[in-house]
Structures are given as C-alpha cells and as structure tokens.
Amino acid sequence: MITAHGIQSYAWLLVAIPAASALILLTLGRAADKWGHLLGALVPVGLFVYAVFLFFSVKGQSNRKVDLHMFSWIPVARFRVDAGLLLDPLALVFVLLITGVGSLIHIYAVGYMAHDPGRRRFFGYFNLFVAAMLLLVLADNYLAVYVGWEGVGLASYLLIGYYYTRPSAATAGNKAFFANRVGDVGLSIAIMLMFAYFGTTSFAGVFGHFGHGGNATTGVATAIALMLLLGACGKSGQFPLQTWLPDAMEGPTPVSALIHAATMVTAGVYLIARSAPVFDATSAARTVVTIVGAITLLYGCINGAGQDDLKRVLANSTVSQIGYMFLAVGLGPGVYAIGIVHLLGHGFFKAALFLSAGSVMHAMNDRIDMRRFGGLWRVMPITFFVFVCGYLAIIGFPFATGFWTKDKIIEAAFDKGGTSGYLLGIIALVGAGLTAFYMTRALVMTFLGKRRWEPDVHPHECGPVMWLPMAVLAVLSLVGGWLLIFGGGVQEWLTPSVGPSVEAGVHTVSKPVLTAITLVVVALGIAGAWVAFGTRTIPEEQPQNVTVVTRASRRNLYADAFNEAVLMRPGQWFSRALVFFDNRGVDGVVNGLSASFGGGSSRFRRLQSGFVRSYALSMLGGTVAVIAVLLAVRFQ
C-alpha cells in the first residue's frame, strides 16, 4: 500500500462534492429551483472525468493500492477508526461505474423530471445517493463503509418515497429502509466481531489476520462472513430480505435505474468481494452465499414471469441477476472477479432497460401496465432499439454483454465440481432459460403485437436529453461485455483486490458444449414465450383462470403475505399488548401501591389535585425514620 500523491490526494472530493451539492439543493429550497437540476447533473459528469484521470493515475503505478488518510474519526482507547479512502482496482471500477452510468442517468433525469415541480429536491436526493455510494466503495475500513451503506439506504428511502403523498410510495420507502436495517444488524455485528477479536476495523488490519500468517480461526471467519452476508442480503435485495426491491418501483423511473444499475443493490456484491480474504477462509459461509444466490436467482425469474407491470418485471430481473452475482462471489477464490464483471455488464444493460421503460412510461401518461401497451416499436423506434439491446444483453444473446459475463458464472458453477457444482450449474442454466422467457414476454407485450392502448394516450418518442444517454447505454449493452473481458481485462485488473482469477484446469463440462447447451436453453425460453404471448392476443385484463405458478408469481411467491402474517401482524399485536401491559400493569402496580399507601384511590385522586405537601411530608417522615434506623445501627 502506498500513500496517495498528486491527483490522487483529491479523491475525497468524490464524496465531498456530491454531498455538498445535495446539501445546497436541499437547503436552499425554491431559490435553487431554476438551476438545481443543472448543478445536480453536472456533478456526476465532473466526477466521472476526474475518476478517469484517477483511474489512469493508479493504473500507471506498479503498486495499485493507494491509501488516502484524511483524519482520525473515532479514537477511543483501542478503538481507533480513521476517515480514510482506499483507491484500489476494485474501488476504482466501482467509481467508474457509479459516476459513468450515474451521469447518464442524471442527464436522462433532467428530461424525465422536466415537468415535476420537485425536480430540485429530486436531484438533491440523487446527488446524496451518489455521494453515499462513492463513500461506500472508497472507504478503507468497515465502519466508514457503514456510513456510506446507510447513506445509500437513506437516499433510496427518500427517492422511493419521492411521491410521498401516495401512501403506497411512503410505505414502499419504509419497507426498503426496514429491510436494510435488518441487514444493518448483520453488518454491525460483523464489525463488532472484528473489533472484539482483532482490535481493528480497517481492511488492512482485518485482512492481515487471514491468509498467510493470519491467526483468525475458521469459526471467527464464518461468524464474520455470515454477518456480512446478512448485511449484503438486506442491501442487495437477496433472499430472505428481497421483498422491498420490487416495491421500490414506487419511485420515479430514473431512481430505479440508479438503484438497480449503478448503486445500492450492487453494494452487497461489493461487500462480499471486498471481504474476499474473510470469505476465502470459510467454505461454510461461501456455501451459504451460493445457496442464497441460487434461491434468489430462481425466485426473481419466477416472479418476473408473472408481472404485468413492466418495471416490476425489470425489478425482479435485478433480484435474479444479483442472485447470479452472489452465486459467483460465493464460489470463492478465482470467481470473485467474474461476479464483478457481471455486475459491471449488468450496470450497462439494466440501466438501458430501465431508462427505455421510463421512456415508455413517459409516453404512456405514466402508465406501466404491459397489458395496455403493444405495438410501440413503430412509434418509439429509438426506445425500442435501446430496449432490444438491453434485452439481447440480459438473455445472453451471442456476443452481447450477458453472453460474456453471465455464461462465465454458469461455467464457474459447474466447475465447482461435485453434486453441488452440478446443482448450482443447473439452477444457473434454468435461470438463463427463464430469463429469456420473461424478458421475451416483456418485449412482446410492450413493443410488438397489436396496440392495446387506453384511448387517451398518444405515445411519442422522447427528446434527445433522454434518448442520447439511452443510446450510449444501448451500445454498451451490446459491446460492453466484450470490452470488459477482452484480454483478461477487468479480471486481471482486479487481481490486487480480490486475488487472481482462476479458470479451472479441467472443465466439468467443456466450454463449447456448455455454451451450446446454454444457447439451446435460452432459445427454448424465447420460443416458449413467443408461443405463449407472441402468437396469441394478449388480454387487456389479467386472466384469472391461470396455473398455480402464475398465481404465486403474481403475488411474489407469497413472500409479502408471509412477512405480513409472520412479522408485521404479530409485531403489531405484540406492541399493542405491551402498551396495555405498561399502562395497566407496570403503571397500575405503581399507582395501586401509592394509592393503598395513602388509604384508597380516592385519597390518591385528592393528592393529585394539590395535596402535595401532606404527601411529601409523610414521605419525608418515612425517610427520616430510615435515616434514624441507619444511624442507630451504626452507633450501637
């Protein structure tokens, strides 16, 4: 590790500038309404330019771990936490993703939010989001990560509940925050474990206890890793804390793009990849990570297939794609980088998909029911093109982004070997087929087929402020994956942070065969969706005589119903019962005691209306007696 110098010593501005901008936009109030959105959009663009220079500055040196110490944050005896940044390969790819894709989404939002009276407030929250996310990936110790971590949670709470006068939006914001807080308990306990056992919370300090010469026991590693995983599940919408993520669609569409593509949900993957030395030391915890990933990726796929709300389809696809990333980072040494590569590729195509969904929504008077879309390709050709690019990328169409990044995860799962390897591989493969199915369904229902528009909508293509960023993302969806893995690319770059990328010497299933199988499965998914939705008329109302699977899928596999029945309602009853107990029980006993002491409740009531002195006197008398006894005992 070397100390930051030159341009690197200004890296703290990456956090300070968007934070300051957010503060300005949110405190100036209406005075900033005229130019607030411009400032808000300019900030990430400027940060991106700086980040590119920073990237090359670090790339140019042999030691690519740069430490930027700022000040001593919390020094209390042995507990010493510094405010410091770590500029290493892992942090820098995230910085580029956050500021790069983030900038495109910000620019798009200038157009998307043009008619919203709260646009300045919106950009304030947006900048806060960027600041928090950058702190999360740049911090050099777990406690500072926690600050960014919660800042992201706060920004998402504010943005999901942006239309706060809608009860559903306010509730969705709360739901997101509560799920995140459950995860925070995990992160908190992980940090406490680190301090209790190692006496430090810095990356360098903690990781020093792992690997060669480390003295951390497997038990400690597993405990820390599982607690970190709980935190990651909350932030990334993974099973069993996934239900907040689809509800997060209550916010304006650019929010969804920012949460799903550039920030927030990728934080969990980041945390696990960052903690690679800890996870390397515990195969038990890694197995749990792969199981969480596998369950979530199937859950997301199945849910995505039953939704009629385009944004909810995409939200569930995020749940599922993050499941792939968890699966990858759970596979452990050598595969972390593949998870990160898929994360970056996903950032491109998911942003493209969400922004084109937003464009559709914009054109359809903010309606998002795919049953009332159809035939939009003709009136919105650019949006259609962008969506198709994102579509090809996510299903893993040959040479589009997902083809390079997702297929590697499927491959790595099989290469794990043994029964578990086959099981995970097959789940990942089935997921690929289901992804092709539900994405084709969404594509067909939205853009192809007959027009099922409501009579008052007159769709039109969006303006250049919106379609230009979309177009950039479309191109990245097509070629981004290839760029990322070209010549070892990102995987090699990440080696100093997460260890070298190892390709198994002997593949369980040989590469060409697996690619062929994957393509066949994907083709089956497409064909299935085409037969079911492309060749038939889509009913404008949701059909009710459907299979059990569809019914369950529409209701998020009853996960919400479960939470409500098992957590929410009993919690409310419990709370009410305690209130009753506290008023009648604890307080009642005390009141009752004092009443009987004073000779009946009527007496107490009289005391309440002003007989303080007599009461105080009687009390004083008692105390004097106590003191007298004490003195007597003493002087005997």
């Binding site: 020094p75 042995r78 009860p167 301090f195 006496g199 709370s575």
Partner: protein, 519 residues
C-alpha cells in the same frame, strides 16, 4: 485547592437572569423573553469559552473551587468539572436558548395565535421564561457540584421549576403528570438522601467532597445498600425500566420546551449520576449489580421501543423512545469498557440535542394542529416542507443514522458492550430495527400520505423557529463527521472512572500477533 471563579460565574449567570426576569413588572412579556434569551446566550458563550480552555490532558477536575458551607458536617460549596460534566454542561447551555426561541410565542395568545398551545390561562410568558432560567441554574449546578451534599441539593431543587413548568403550562392532564413526576422523583431523592447521610457516617471522613470519598467507602453489604440508594434515585430519574412510567405522562403533558429540557437534560442527571457517583464511590457494588443493570437496560431498549411503536400520542411516543435510548446509555456505562463509557457519555450529549430537537419540532407541529394524536395529521410535508425536513433529520438522528453523531455514540456503546457481553450486545443491536420503525412510522403518519384537510392551513416554520432547531441538527451532523473534539474531552474522564471501578478493557484475543494491525 486553587480557586477559580469561572464555574461559579457560569452557574450564577442564569440565576441572576432568572431573578431579574421574575422582578420585571407584569405585562412585560417581550422584555422578559429578550432578557432571558440574552442571559441564556451569555451562559452558552461562557460555557464554550470554558470548554475551549479545558486542558484535555490536565487534571481530572478542572476549574475547581470550594467554600465551606456547613462547617459542622463538612459540607462545601465545591464546584469543578471533569470531561463528562463539561460536555453535559455544554449540551444544557445549548439547549436552553433553543428552547426559548422555539417557545417564544407558545404561551402568548396575542403574539401568535396559531402557535399558542391550549394551556395558558393565567400564567404568563414571563414566569415561564424565568422558570427556564432558574432550571438552567440548577442544571448547571448539578453537573458542576463536586460535593455530594451540594449535588443532592441541586438534584432535588431541579424538581421545583420543572414541577411548575409541567403543572402550570402543560396539557390537559398536566396536574396528574406533574404530581406523578414529583412523587417519583421525591421517592428517589429521599432514598438518595439516606445514602448521602449514610456515606458521611460510614466513611467517617467528615467530608462530602467526592474526590476525598472515592476509595474510602467500606465494602460489603454497607456499600451495596448505599449504592442502591443512589442507584434507585438515578434509575428513576434516567429512567430505567421498570421505573419509567412517570416519563411518558410527564413528557406528553409538559409544554414542548419543558419536555425538551426534561428529557434532554434532567433525565441525563440520572445517567450522569451512574457514571459520576455510583461507579467511583461504590466500585464493588457497581460490579456486583452490573449484570442486573445490564439486563434491565437491554430489556428497556426493546420493551420501550415496542411501546413507542404502539403509541398514537406523538409526545408519548418520543418519550418512550427516550426510555429505549436510556437503555443504551445504561448498557454503555455498566459494560465497564472505555468504548462503552465514552459512547454512553457522548450518547447523553447527542440524545439531548436529538430528542430536544424532536420535542421542539413536535411542539411546533402540535401548536399548529392542536392535537397530539398522530392520526389527526397526514401529508403535512406538502404544506410545511421545512418543518418536515427538520423533523426527518431529527428523527434520523434518533434512529442513529451512520454519519450523525448519534451513530458514533450508539456504535461505541454497542461495540464496548460486545467486547464483554456478546449476547446482550447482539440483542441490543436488534433494537436498531425497532428504532427505524418507530421513527419512520411516526414520520409517515404525520408527514406523508394523503394531505389532510386540517393541515392545509398550517404555516411553515418562520426564521426564528428554524433558528431554534437548525443549530441542534447542524451540531449532530458536525459531530457525526468529526466527533474527536468531544471524544478527547470525554475519554480521560471515562478512563479515570473505570480505574476507580478497577476495570480494564478486554484485550482482543487475536490482536497480539499481528503488528500494527489496529491502524
């Protein structure tokens, strides 16, 4: 002992102010308010000067002074501050002017009709402001006293102005609440008096000076009984579950400014008492009773949080959240680690600012809506965005959002407790979920959702009201990013206290072999 008049001067500023305001002729409400504000600001400025000149590496008690008061019993008017007292002193001095600004028109039906809470009939704003200054005098006194008897006197005297603030200026059930508050405190105070006298008798050192009593209290059963006298008094004051039931009533019925001081400062005297008196004077008994206190604290964190979630009365709700927060403070103090103790003291400061701001903002909201029931509001953020924004910030500080000073203190408490009592700390950590629920659920019901008819006429905060609360929020944010100045003041005092209890921080079992690991 070298004499310093600094603390005496500081303590007398509000007393003089209070006497002047009391002496003003009737009907001089405006002058009374202005004079009060000037005196409270003067005390604040002077407190800041003293804090800036406090030597963090210096002696434990600074600005010490002592005059004989009752020669026959060795009672002295002895003042002095350690780091713990100093930060609480500062917090009190910050809160009083904020309360004054926020309550400016709250009792004056002519000056601002929509701000006047229903309470005042005959009582005047003059009396209210004079009582606030009198209260400040006692609060500053209780933190600066280094003579146990003098502390007791201030401890009891604090009740009087607060009793009148609640009983005369409070809500519909103010008399019941004031009486309950008074009786609970009185019982605790008298138990403490017994212990104070017992302390004098059993040590036989014929003095009440705390520095001379530390280490001289006999052990065994005597120490346990003496400890309990102090402890119960402080536990009622703090309040620790199950001694808490007076607080929701008092907090709800007190005028908002009174509630802010009651929960923000007066209750801190309880937790201050734990760390200043219980631990150093009765180390053996403190260790003996620590498991019990820790368990009560953790129960309090969860129990009070559930109660807060179930409340509809917004002020009761915030009062219950405070009970939960006091659980954290108790946990930090009786964990006997530097992190826990420092965290607990910082928690006291932060909680004063955070809950003080919450009560003041609730007062401003309730003055507009004339109801404490949260279900009477809805969509208020649309009408009063500034009030809503500040309220959300105060609420987030209450749930200890990382980046705010409340997080620093809460995490220090938890991490300090964790190194000694893992299970208790883990249970306490789940309290952060409940904290998010009670804060955001309150915010949702009051400020979000469909805009209710009755809130559409609400006026947003005026500059004076913003000025009352915004500095509190700014301090919370500043010390969240840079808590070091406060930690440097608190830390040595906590270390000294822990060495009084003969406790050392546990050493991380795996730390030894890796050099330079704790960067």
């Amino acid at each position: 002992m070298t004499h310093s008049y600094a603390l005496l001067a500081l303590v007398l500023i509000p007393l003089v102010g209070s006497l002047i305001v009391f002496a003003l002729p009737r009907g001089q409400a405006a002058a009374a308010k202005q004079v009060s504000l000037v005196f409270s600001l003067a005390a604040l400025v002077y407190a800041i000067v003293l804090a800036a000149r406090f030597k963090t590496g210096g002696p434990r008690f600074q600005y010490g002074t002592s005059w004989t008061w009752i020669r026959d019993f060795g009672v002295h008017i002895a003042l002095g501050v350690d780091g713990i007292a100093l930060v609480l002193l500062l917090m009190s001095a910050v809160l009083v002017p904020a309360v004054m600004l926020a309550s400016w028109n709250a009792l004056d039906s002519r000056a601002g009709a929509e701000e006047a809470v229903e309470a005042p009939r005959r009582r005047s704003a003059k009396t209210f402001f004079a009582l606030l200054l009198l209260l400040e005098f006692f609060m500053l006194g209780v933190f600066t006293a280094t003579d146990v008897f003098l502390f007791y006197v201030f401890f009891e005297a604090m009740l009087v102005p607060m009793y009148f603030i609640i009983g005369s200026f409070g809500g519909p059930r103010r008399q019941y609440a004031a009486m309950k508050f008074f009786l609970y405190s009185l019982v605790g105070g008298l138990l403490m008096l017994a212990s104070v006298i017992g302390l004098y008798v059993t040590t036989g050192s014929r003095t009440f000076a705390i520095t001379q009593l530390i280490g001289h209290v006999p052990g065994g059963a005597t120490q346990k009984w003496l400890f309990l006298g102090f402890f119960i008094a402080f536990a009622i004051k703090a309040p620790l579950v199950p001694f808490h039931t007076w607080l929701p009533d008092a907090g709800a019925e007190a005028p908002a400014g009174g509630a802010a001081l009651l929960v923000g400062v007066l209750d801190k005297v309880g937790t201050f008492g734990f760390i200043r008196y219980c631990l150093p004077l009765f180390p053996q008994a403190s260790r003996y009773f620590a498991p019990l206190v820790l368990i009560l604290s953790v129960i309090g964190i969860l129990y009070a949080a559930f109660l807060a979630i179930g409340q509809r009365d917004m002020k009761r709700l915030v009062a219950y959240t405070s009970v939960a927060h006091f659980g954290f403070i108790g946990l930090g103090i009786f964990a006997f680690t530097t992190q826990g103790g420092t965290g607990a003291v910082l928690y006291m400061v932060n909680h004063g600012l955070s809950t003080g701001a919450l009560f003041l903002l609730l007062g401003l909201l309730i003055a507009r809506g004339k109801s404490r029931n949260v279900n009477d509001y809805g969509g208020t953020a649309k009408v009063t965005p500034v009030l809503a924004g500040l309220f959300l910030m105060a609420g987030l500080s209450s749930l200890a959002l990382p980046g705010m000073s409340t997080f620093v203190s809460e995490f220090l408490v938890l991490v300090g407790a964790f190194t000694r009592h893992k299970a208790l700390a883990i249970i306490a950590t789940t309290g952060i979920i409940l904290a998010a629920i009670y804060v955001l659920y309150l915010y949702q019901r009051a400020f979000q959702g469909t805009v209710r008819e009755r809130v559409t006429k609400f006026r947003d905060l005026n500059p004076r009201e913003v000025l009352a609360v915004a500095p509190l929020i700014a301090l919370i944010l500043f010390f969240g990013i840079y808590p070091k100045p406060l930690l440097n003041i608190i830390n040595p005092a906590v270390k000294a206290t822990l060495s009084d209890v003969h406790q050392q921080d546990p050493i991380p079992p795996l730390n030894a072999t890796v050099a330079g690991g704790s960067k």
